[in-house]
Symmetry: C2
Subunit: 344 residues, 2 copies
């Protein structure tokens, strides 16, 4: 089971190793006669030679590898993709990368965990970090010397490229839609609201919409937990305990909505009859749900594609040139909202 190296091919074709390398890489600065080229190709095929990319990376200092870091939301929680959003995004990233001849080096991340391993030492050509903010590792990350794209993070740092969506505007849109439908008491249900994250922006959008309509933001209408199905269930219980004060809810992730609707149903609260819901993301799930979710649609496929493009462009560029990409949103009307007329 001996590995076949470039030297074996060279010997077989009766040329030097470098010639083989030139043929294989189509090195533009080097000229190879048609005849030798054919001999080399033939030898490659005969021996079924496949170059060792580790050696190539070592020598050429690029690896055709993109590091992808996806948050593992909870420490013990195995299923970091429990939010289907990540799966869809990763899928798009993988596909785009592959079309460009790149592979993915994938790793989940916990908040405090050191990203450095994957970043620095595998020799990736770029890194896509989704969802979390790098915190203390931020500076260490820079030293990796490769382009870094932050997806859905509000870290402002010219050393990182970012790609995101109009979170605030999307949330405003969603909330205003509910107001237009006649709702006056609207809950806000989301994952943790913290700096650099998307939820704080969505919260701001929610507040803005309320204020614009002359409505007050009520403490007890704000539910903040984790971005998963379970929190949706919990929020439903909380909602009932707090006396079902709101006639509608803006939920900042479809996956939370799924749990919320389920929790409500279990308590005999109907959607949209008793409470209307506008959600966020428009993952595949949103349309499968019953009732199907009216939700703020974001183009997850495009997000993934852009992320890869950004990385590849930045990897090509000699000078670091900070880029920021914001994708637009729009509301998709489905079956989880109804008009509300205040009982007189």
């Amino acid at each position: 089971m001996k590995r076949i190296s470039i030297k074996d091919v060279a010997k077989e074709a009766g040329v030097s190793a470098s010639t083989v390398s030139y043929v294989l890489n189509d090195t533009p600065t080097e000229s190879i006669s048609e005849e030798t080229r054919k001999r080399v190709i033939a030898a490659v095929q005969k021996l079924e030679y496949v170059p060792n990319l580790n050696a190539r990376s070592l020598s050429s200092r690029h690896s055709n590898l993109i590091g992808v870091l996806i948050p593992q939301t909870e420490p013990g929680k195995e299923f970091m993709f429990s939010n289907p959003f990540y799966g869809e995004l990763l899928s798009s990233i993988e596909y785009t990368a592959r079309q460009n001849g790149y592979h993915l080096l994938l790793s989940g991340t916990q908040e405090d965990q050191c990203y450095l391993n994957i970043a620095q030492n595998r020799g990736v050509d770029g890194i896509i970090i989704v969802g979390t903010y790098p915190g203390e590792n931020l500076n260490a990350l820079k030293r990796a010397g490769v382009p870094i794209v932050l997806v859905d993070s509000y870290v402002k740092d010219p050393d990182f490229h970012t790609i995101g969506i109009e979170d605030k505007e999307g949330a405003r849109m969603a909330t205003r839609y509910l107001i237009e439908k006649g709702h006056r008491r609207i809950a806000f249900i989301s994952g943790s609201i913290r700096e650099y994250g998307v939820n704080i922006k969505r919260y701001q959008g929610y507040c803005d919409a309320l204020k614009e309509a002359g409505l007050a933001v009520e403490e007890s209408a704000v539910y903040s937990g984790t971005v998963d199905y379970e929190y949706g269930l919990a929020a439903a219980v909380l909602y009932a305990e707090r006396g079902r004060k709101q006639t509608a809810a803006f939920v900042t992730a479809d996956v939370i909505s799924m749990g919320f609707v389920k929790g409500l149903t279990q308590q005999g609260i109907g959607v949209p009859d008793d409470i209307s819901i506008v959600s966020f993301d428009d993952v595949y799930l949103a349309n499968m749900a019953y009732p199907s979710l009216t939700t703020v649609h974001q183009d997850i496929g495009e997000k993934g594609r852009k992320a890869v493009e950004l990385v590849l462009e930045a990897a090509k560029a000699k000078e670091h040139q900070h880029t920021e990409c914001i994708l637009p949103l729009h509301l998709v009307e489905r079956d989880s909202v109804r008009e509300w007329r205040e009982p007189t």
Copy 2:
């Protein structure tokens, strides 16, 4: 932005590069004095040295990298994870790998595509292939010389390790359950039924259960398409067109069930009132659905864990020792099935 190498550390600590390497790897055959060890560690920290794993792989011929190949079901379809099963499985694989100090090299695969790149040349320590059967590339794959674990494939080849579930028995269980509930005409809805795949086994289980109960397998009750939501929708239309002959359906994937239920609902056909459904997989989705799906539960987390374990064990072993792992299944009763009494 010069990369810091082991030589820089060696110089800083006043020792040779090999000593640094020994310290860093805790090489058991080598003895290092406590004093030098400390000096080296200090130098490493001072220079913030991180070893280049490409070079390490090249030299030591192992990479702490596991290649993971996930099928991209349809050629143009970007979202290879449109079946949440893959996301959950990948998540488990990633987590387990990371706990063991491994990273994942991820790639989607199309049927005809050559897996070799990822397999041979990145120097992965093992490969996990999920869902598809390698076909012609099978032999090429063997030559990679690393352990290969096939997940959910019925390729019988002692050179590959396999991990799967009791597909046939699970399907039999599901179908028998429907029969016990009084159903006599039961549809079978699945992805393509082909050799080496899981669906052919599930089809056999379905047939077995029917035969055991003295029921005939009817051609028109068998729906075979692709494993996705869209096919579920299509199957619902087909079901109506064919005259709603069956009172129940065994659907071989939750994601198809989701589409099937939605399609039925759109045509005013109620689940479980008009037709009962038993599904397969028990992805997260199954419980979120409305009605929640009665389904054959498989432990996806365990599947991923076992896959990684198998790879790592095999990588450690000097002799190739074929292993086969079959995980058990059980039925989870939820809300998509009702008792059926034949109208008299």
